[in-house]
Symmetry: D2
Subunit: 273 residues, 4 copies
């Protein structure tokens, strides 16, 4: 079960985009998205599909206190991840792989090629490099809430040695891309995370599939539920304001699994659903 409850103060009538629903790579048992201003229900948001199964919700709200409540019960789709990749080890990449090789706002991989090659270039290409990158970040970057901000890029974090989950993911992506490994950002619900919040991990492409890594080691990857996927956090913000003035007042996220959460050594191969 995953859920999030958000409260906003809307000072000027606003058009907003929410990116909080579980991606459709899951079998949905029950799902609700309720939006209301000053307690009065708003029309159902317009849903927009995003790459890799993500779903945006567009919403227009008058002045007042906007409350957003999302909850869903999900089961892993039997034919999605967890099982062997669809064996599409082609010689030449598809467009998604090419796209996720490119430098992006928070992942300026073009600037870090020298560092990445010097630090990891002696390792065999593919999995060995991604694992070494993940362990390097785990050992070298401290998880320090408040140490970074919305403008911080992966190179800032490499240098200061401090960040939060999105920074860890940005740094992993940047070092992968600098070594010509396609890598992308995933926002997730993460059962077991403490304190509970939205979480972020990265996915790297090798051996014909996207594999998930989380250098923060703050939650087992097996329970994670994909929300949004993209080049970096610019593509996965849980709120975008298109018009109007709106301020977040409270946020509460939950994510649980039925049964016991699996341990995670953080290096075994895992594919995010």
């Amino acid at each position: 079960m995953v859920s999030c409850d958000l409260t906003f103060e809307v000072e000027e009538p606003a058009d907003i985009v929410l990116h909080i629903a579980a991606a459709n790579s899951w079998v949905v048992h029950t799902e609700r998205l309720d939006v209301a201003t000053d307690g009065k229900a708003l029309p159902a948001p317009v849903e927009l599909a995003t790459p890799h199964g993500g779903r945006l919700h567009l919403l227009r709200t008058p002045r007042g206190i906007l409350s957003v409540s999302y909850r869903a019960e999900l089961t892993a789709s039997p034919d999605s991840a967890g099982q062997p990749a669809a064996a599409i080890r082609r010689d030449l990449p598809d467009l998604a792989q090419l796209t996720y090789l490119r430098a992006s706002r928070y992942c300026p991989s073009d600037q870090a090629v020298g560092f990445a090659v010097a630090e990891f270039g002696h390792l065999p290409p593919g999995r060995a490099r991604v694992e070494a990158i993940t362990q390097w970040i785990e050992h070298r970057v401290g998880y320090v809430p408040g140490s970074s901000n919305v403008h911080s890029s992966a190179t800032d974090v490499l240098l200061t040695g401090q960040g939060v989950c999105r920074d860890f993911a940005h740094l992993g992506i940047t070092l992968c891309r600098a070594l010509q490994i396609p890598a992308r950002f995933a926002a997730v619900y993460a059962p077991g995370l403490a304190p509970m919040d939205f979480h972020a991990v990265f996915e790297a492409w090798f051996d014909g599939a996207w594999w998930t890594y989380d250098a923060t080691r703050r939650a087992p990857r097996k329970g994670m539920v994909r929300v949004a996927t993209g080049r970096d956090a610019t593509d996965t913000a849980f709120l975008n304001v298109l018009r109007g003035i709106i301020a977040l007042r409270s946020i509460e996220v939950t994510a649980t699994v039925s049964g016991v959460l699996p341990l995670d050594d953080n290096l075994a191969l895992h594919r995010l659903r």
Copy 2:
């Protein structure tokens, strides 16, 4: 007629991606893409479609001198740009518009919101702001080959006051996005450009369509032929190397129109084909 002839020295067998063909928003009369290493023709490259009609070509080459020759005769498709936009002035944006609001590697619009609002925020939204941005760039940034490099972002260019066509486009995009106007980068063939080379412009979304602007004023927009479209220059590089070692040795671009090139005041509305 557009063409480009590229020569590369391939030091290690290489997989490369070319982004040089005219986008398929044109009616193609004749088109050839010839690739050869040391004078011996290579198998035809694999073509991959990219957003907005672009076409990538993937290619594997052995060691040697790789020559790439592309030429095409084109006519504007009667039902594409030039005519009124398809009148889709909806209240809420589609995914492309949302995507092109986001900060990107060379267009860190999140960092320039204060500057953009202070400089242009008093103008009416939409076209007036985009025109003011284009004129501001034209008056404030000098076209100086060699003044920027592959790592230069739009904010560098705003501060140094110097750049080349891609920098002008990046700055236009950045200021638009900072004002919540979707904006994207387009690589083009540009008849009339002197000295002739690949060229870059930007497109901004307002009044239900993408409109083209070129703050360099170095070629009339009417003759331009779209090659690639994206968030910024990361998405439109004419060459990406996936594997191997390869160095550009020469480049020759031509772009001509039959008849007389139109004058361009650079502010009349224009939609890039």
Copy 3:
């Protein structure tokens, strides 16, 4: 009367440098600097002279709660500022002027030459440009506590349009230096500032003297008491830790004048004492 009371938690025995005493361009009537750990007085700190009359205090403290209390009653020295400059309008600059033309950590003036010339280059050199810079900052940058951090440079602030007093000063210095006007940073006690805190302004060199500007307009320049002078905030930090672990717990600054605080139009020429 100026004073500051600082409390620190010293976790590991520490060597620290305090930069809190009024510069010796003032006639001191009474002055006390008391330092104690867990209530027990420490030996008197070693005083070190810094450029432009500043005074550092070096201090060694054991573990515990360190309290620092400084207060001084001062009168403006009759032969210092306020009166005409010492008429050293030489054709060629002295070393201080050369030094304060150079780019520094928070004032990367080399990066902003193009912007500064385009925005202010049409004005006559000297005072007119400095005044225009000060007014530009006043109108374009919002005073927003928490909007910047210890890594923020003047170019960040120019773009985001937000900062605090040190950022306003950094931006003034940067734009001056980019126009070949020597400019430096001054940390001051500022009677009338609300909320009371340490304050920062900048000084620009023209017409044979250093003139003070404060684009924040948050306190009259006439009452200000110089503490430290330098290239930027790196030279004027009120605390530097050389060894050990120490954390600021509280800070209380006061600065008052006897009599009524003068109004300040912020553009009349003023020399900081």
Copy 4:
């Protein structure tokens, strides 16, 4: 013997500052500084002393071709470096040491504390860390002319893994300061350098003295002659233009020693004269 011959095209009458003379820590046998415009000798430049024995020369030149010719025969002063430091191992630092702990334009050490501590913090303070930093730079950064520019900072170079002598020195300084080791930049004449040019190294403070390091290993430290000393390259530019328009046309530097140049393992302790 050291010399340099510079030719400039002066387009607008200019005031310039030259920083090319050997520092006065040397015994001068013969020394000449000739300046002429269009072959006509100019008045002798005004000499200005800079910290650590440096000497600036201020000069006014009309339009035309300015030629500057400096040459000097020098002997190491018997009481300067090479011999043991003046044993001033005091507990608390002097102002120079404090100054050279501070972040500067090209050495943003505040941004790299986390990286420096993670990479070098396990080593004993002082010499061991400076040597490890020097070796790290030597192994990790490639000497690639043209790879950096006048805006490149040490953190750019750490990430790109490429630079020239000033970048190597900036990176050494940055990592030292991030570990609380005072470090400064020195511009030098360097006999044995190939190709011959001005050179730059860094000096770190430990065990009561400033010790010289050159991570480029491109010339033996023993033959080097100090020209200028400062926080970074901003303090040591061989040319500053205060007024006017002037462009460098040619530069020729020579630096030779009588006798055989000593080998240099680059780690033995050395103090720059």
